[in-house]
Symmetry: C2
DNA sequence: TGGATGTGCAACCCCAGAATTGCACGTCCA
DNA sequence: TGGACGTGCAATTCTGGGGTTGCACATCCA
């Protein structure tokens, strides 16, 4: 986690970087399927060490994609949809913007073609 | 480009990896703003070499985010919204799925609490 | 034709980050 | 209380990818 308050929607950048790694996406899948899980439990279901899982969870936490809470001697993590949803909206908006621009350029090109046939 | 046909929507993985790099996102912004551009032109607007831009464009092309066409001695690239849009939908679906699961888990937890008050 | 301009290819450097190992510290419970 | 279990921290290794340089090849145009 960075210095931002817990619960804030992290930047799009950190979410994209977090999602770019296949092991982290697998972790998210496992967490989504099980609701809650510890780093030790998750490591047993993956071909990596617990320490690797811990580091990945830290990245996911910094991106706001998961959050962990201590229960006794163990730390249970769960998935947080908000950051993912925000990034999805960002991407959809970007795609729409590209579409707009492309349509505009096409329109201008056709107008120019009419002027010089 | 890989061996997939031009125009195919590449896998979500390649799109996420492509978008994870800030320089590549900048390239996409420039391309979207200018409609069409060559690697040489783009390199002049960024603090990196043309070769670096070429490699980034190759990654973006493999992800289906841009496409390049030869015009005389130059290669002009343009943005392709389809892959981005598809990935946005994938993310939105995933976020919805997480929401569903979390709601379900909460429901079960409350039911269990009612049984043992 | 020859120079200017734009691409393509190959070798190389460098470092962030993915992963491991080893050990110390806190927590539960028989 | 002591052992088992879970976590935290630090040092280390090593590969992939971002970036560069240098040169060869293709294309335009005066």
């Amino acid at each position: 986690m960075t210095d931002e308050r817990r619960g804030d929607v992290a930047s799009v950048d950190s979410v994209l970087v977090a999602l770019a790694d296949p092991t982290r996406r697998q972790l998210l899948d496992l967490l989504a399927a099980q609701g809650e899980a510890t780093a030790t439990t998750l490591a047993e279901q993956l071909p990596v060490t617990r320490q690797a899982v811990v580091k990945h969870l830290a990245v996911l936490d910094a991106a706001g994609l998961v959050s962990g809470g201590r229960v006794g001697r163990e730390v249970r993590y769960a998935v947080r949809p908000a950051a993912l949803d925000a990034t999805a909206r960002w991407m959809a908006g970007l795609a729409a913007d590209w579409d707009r621009r492309l349509a505009n350029i096409k329109r201008i090109a056709e107008a120019a073609e009419r002027d010089t046939p």
